[in-house]
Amino acid sequence: MMTFASLVERLYAVTAAWGLPWIVPTLVVMTIVAAVIIGYIAVAAMFMIWWERKISAHIQVRFGPMRVGGWHGWAQSIADGIKLLLKEDVIPAGADKVVFVLAPMVVFAAAVAAYVTIPWAPGLIVRDLNIGILYMVAISSLVVVGIIMAGWSSNNKYSTLGAMRSAAQAVSYEVPLVLSLLGPVMIAGTMSMEKLVEAQGGYWFGLLPKWFVFPQIVAFLVYFTCSLAECNRLPFDIPEAESELVAGFHVEYSGMRFAIFFLAEYANMFVVAAIATTMFLGGWQGPWLALPGLPREVAHGLFGLFWFLVKCYVLIFVMMWLRWTLARMRVDQLMGFAWKVLLPIAFANLIVTGLVLVLGRQALLYVLGIAIVLLVAIVLAARTAGRPVRVG
């Protein structure tokens, strides 16, 4: 068992020995990796959809899908996927056809591209860019472009409204999101996903894992809130609010194109969970990474992947849980929340982190910093909570 990078190196060496230019193995690797990632996205999204349906069902005292496939309706998503694939492809007469067709591709491409820098396990990463986290954030922001394209090209007022809401929301929430991610980056002193995970190895006092979530709890909460908004999940799902905008930007989409939007949504959920895991929850760090009985690489690969996926899916479960418990926010509240609450908190966290890093790494200072940030957060939250809601 080898790391992914060394496998690629060997392939390069072999093809170079055959006298082929380096573009050939690159293309081969790119194709294989893309196929694996897209395959994973499809399977994982189907699983997540089924999972979400089961979770929502159990939250709502019902069973959810029970028939297809026998055991708890596990094949329901596959059946739905086949149905969507076989449906007639409808492009509305008034739509801008080129943009309409392009929009789901942009959304899906952006979602897939973000998988490039996800560190699955030690050494198992497609490409460990030295600007890894920045790349992920930048690529994720492309999703909004696709959403706006979809909303506008459908030539439907509801979808245009949904697209505009989505644009406003994404632009607003991107700011605190990036700021909250800066805290771990400052502590680790790198933007590479691999090195960020490595920086979180070890334990404090021998039992508390050195995850960034503990010193950066505020940043984690800000990031998680913003990531809900980035994925258009409840309580921030106003771009696609069924009861207000029917379904928002994808109201005119059906069949395969709709399926791609749906897939991209779940792929994105996984991406934000993966970012949170990598930046705050120690990525693939966990016990048994150096299990004596197994070869080092096998233990690393298996348990690294296991811990990474467990953390990701726990976060995804929390996202689903929130969705089925909370009510939707209103547009103005949403914007106010981003600019008036999250942004100051993220800034305060950044300042405190910087101060602590410069003045010394005493644990006391960390605690003090967190206390200050929490205080600011509480004061701000109390102020916005006590403020009378806009009338008329």
């Binding site: 230019p21 380096w22 573009i23 008034g94 801008d96 080129v98 943009v99 392009l102 860019l129 030295n130 600007i131 920045l134 790349y135 954030v137 930048a138 690529i139 922001s141 492309l142 909004v144 472009v145 706006i148 394209m149 506008w152 090209s153 030539n155 007022k157 245009t160 697209a163 505009m164 644009a167 406003a168 994404a170 632009v171 991107e174 990036v178 933007m191």
Partner: protein
């Protein structure tokens, strides 16, 4: 390496095509979409120039920020699926001549004299260097730009709000 050159030609053609759609396209929203593609092509070219950090910044700010703002403004100001008959004003002919002159001059300048320069085989990681430079050598411009951003923000808010 010829492969790299091929990638460059492909990206260059893509970027120029997208830019041409931005400038000459009839439909303003399609022009904005083409602008996004041209920015992405540009970012890819930055990667070819070993400027990964700037490529990411390009995507984050231009694609994720500026073009979204542009699309927002387009949707606020033009009809859904509006098709204006004329998108080019009366100065097209004169501007065309001037621009052809400009491009010829620029290409002449670009190809004569400085073509022989070739840099180091590969730049090291640029992000830490840029960060240090911005806060030491370029601290003053950095502060000036931040003041400019603040001014722009205040100005934009005042201009855009309704009474």
């Amino acid at each position: 390496m010829p492969v790299k050159l091929g990638i460059f030609y492909f990206l260059a053609a893509f970027t120029v095509w997208a830019a041409a759609v931005v400038v000459l396209g009839k439909n303003i929203v399609r022009a904005a979409v083409a602008l996004i593609f041209s920015f992405c092509g540009m970012a890819a070219l930055y990667v070819l120039l070993d400027a990964e950090f700037l490529a990411a910044v390009q995507v984050l700010i231009y694609v994720g920020g500026i073009t979204i703002l542009l699309l927002f403004a387009i949707m606020l100001t033009s009809r859904i699926s509006a098709k204006t008959a004329r998108v080019i004003n009366d100065q097209a002919f004169l501007s065309g001549i001037a621009v052809v002159g400009l491009v010829v001059g620029l290409i002449y300048v670009s190809t004569s004299g400085i073509a022989a320069i070739s840099g180091p085989p590969r730049l090291p990681e640029t992000a830490p260097f840029l960060g240090r430079a911005l806060l030491t050598t370029y601290a003053l411009p950095f502060e000036v730009v931040s003041v400019l951003l603040l001014a722009a923000m205040v100005g934009a808010i005042i201009l855009a709000r309704k009474e």
